[in-house]
């Protein structure tokens, strides 16, 4: 799933398989990780806390452990076998969804929508007719987003987002190094703040090779 989502327009998994893997991932995290990890902590900690050698029914506990991986594996196997044999392939919008995320193809193209869509309510795909307008005129040679007014949602200006840069990565690394460093010495905190500040200033500092469009507006 991470590989599929790493870049837009990937084809590691087709839409149908992606939906299956996503659903199984959700079930796994809920029922095969979230619940068992709590029980695992309880089985480990409770005897220590109350001063016994084991829980009340150690064999039953061991049995439940072996049921758990078996059941988990079965969940995956049954899903793989049955969905290979039965059921229609999922398309772009298998359940007639109401949100804009279902209006694009699956996987979405790099640009998501050719023209920025508009909405008139909370369930745009169910509500809109053929006269629902689209937004045109955003530039495609730089990262631009449309900012609307807070009260009436009328278009107000086109905000320019930063270009690709290595400096946010440097900031993240500096932050990570800081958190590891403070385990050993509190001086890692000011040192890390300085490193992160350098990276942030590097991000903020205007680039010389930028198109000189705004320079005409200089004071």
């Amino acid at each position: 799933m991470r590989l599929q989502l790493a870049r837009p327009g990937n084809h590691v998994l087709d839409p149908d398989l992606y939906n299956q893997v996503f659903t199984v991932h959700g079930s796994t995290m809920m029922f095969l990780f979230g619940v068992p990890v709590m029980e695992a902590v309880a089985i480990y900690m409770v005897p220590l806390m109350i001063g016994t050698r084991n829980t009340a029914f150690p064999r039953l506990n061991a049995y439940s452990y072996w049921v758990y991986p078996t059941g988990g594996l079965l969940l995956y196997l049954i899903n793989a076998v049955t969905s290979r044999r039965h059921g229609a392939l999922a398309g772009d919008d298998p359940w007639g969804g109401d949100g804009l995320e279902w209006a694009t193809s699956s996987p979405p193209p790099d640009y998501n929508f050719q023209h920025l869509p508009t909405v008139r309510g909370r369930s745009p795909l169910w509500e809109q007719g053929d006269d629902q307008p689209v937004v045109v005129g955003l530039r495609s040679d730089r990262r631009e987003i449309l900012v609307t007014r807070l009260i009436d949602a009328e278009p107000d200006h086109r905000d320019v987002l930063p270009d690709k840069a290595w400096t946010p990565l440097a900031t993240a690394i500096a932050t990570g190094v800081t958190f590891i460093g403070v385990i050993f010495t509190p001086w890692a905190l000011p040192a890390g703040m300085i490193l992160a500040t350098i990276a942030l200033v590097g991000w903020f500092w205007p680039k010389r090779d930028r198109p000189r469009e705004w320079l005409e507006e200089q004071p």
């Binding site: 937004v135 005129g137 107000d156 905000d159 010389r208 320079l215 507006e217 004071p219």
Partner: protein, 200 residues
């Protein structure tokens, strides 16, 4: 899709000031978070105060350096207001440079006074609960002072090195907004620690 009515946004500007700008909301939210942080520190102060028979234990810290620091900070506000105004309507680069340097320099002097203030504290953070809350409150404000003062230095460097783009005018105004915030909380922190108002 192509037959649909179109809203053409190509004529819209690429900049907005004040609450129309997304960056303004980012800074406003940051200031709201930090205001909550200071409010929690103040609540902690009064909680500790209510649990102590003698407050402050062992006397209040000397008021001298703190007063100098506060006076300098208040003095740095008028030039910052001038930078704020210049970045809005008149946009004279020369005057923005001048007033920002003035404000930045006074702010750095205030930072030195704050360092002296820490040096004059007659207790450490681990002496008693009062020491802890004073060190933390003053320290959190000092971090804001360092961050905002550093931002002032950065913007002075930017105004001289350039190229100054229109979006930097928004940055300058948000920098001013942050500075007002830091000075406003300096007043409140001073009042809390050195005047120690009892009725709340």
């Amino acid at each position: 899709m192509t037959r649909r009515p179109r809203i053409d946004v190509s004529a819209l500007p690429s900049m907005a000031f004040g609450p129309k700008a997304t960056l303004w909301w980012g800074v406003a939210a940051m200031l709201a978070i930090e205001t909550t942080m200071f409010a929690l520190l103040f609540a902690t102060y009064y909680y500790l105060r209510g649990n102590e028979a003698v407050w402050p234990p062992g006397g209040r810290p000397p008021i001298g350096p703190a007063t100098v620091c506060l006076a300098l900070l208040l003095l740095s506000v008028p030039p910052m207001i001038l930078v704020h105004l210049e970045s809005g309507k008149k946009r004279s680069l020369r005057r923005m440079r001048f007033w920002l340097i003035v404000s930045m320099a006074i702010g750095l002097l205030a930072l030195i006074a704050r360092a002296a203030e820490f040096g004059e504290l007659p207790f450490r953070w681990d002496h008693h609960a009062y020491g802890s809350i004073v060190w933390v409150t003053l320290g959190m404000h000092a971090i804001h002072l360092i961050a905002s003062g550093g931002e002032n230095i950065l913007f002075v460097a930017l105004l001289f090195k350039g190229p100054v783009e229109e979006r930097h005018l928004l940055d300058l105004r948000l920098n001013a907004m942050y500075w007002y915030f830091v000075v406003a909380w300096a007043v409140a922190v001073y009042a809390l620690i050195y005047l120690d108002p009892g009725a709340l």
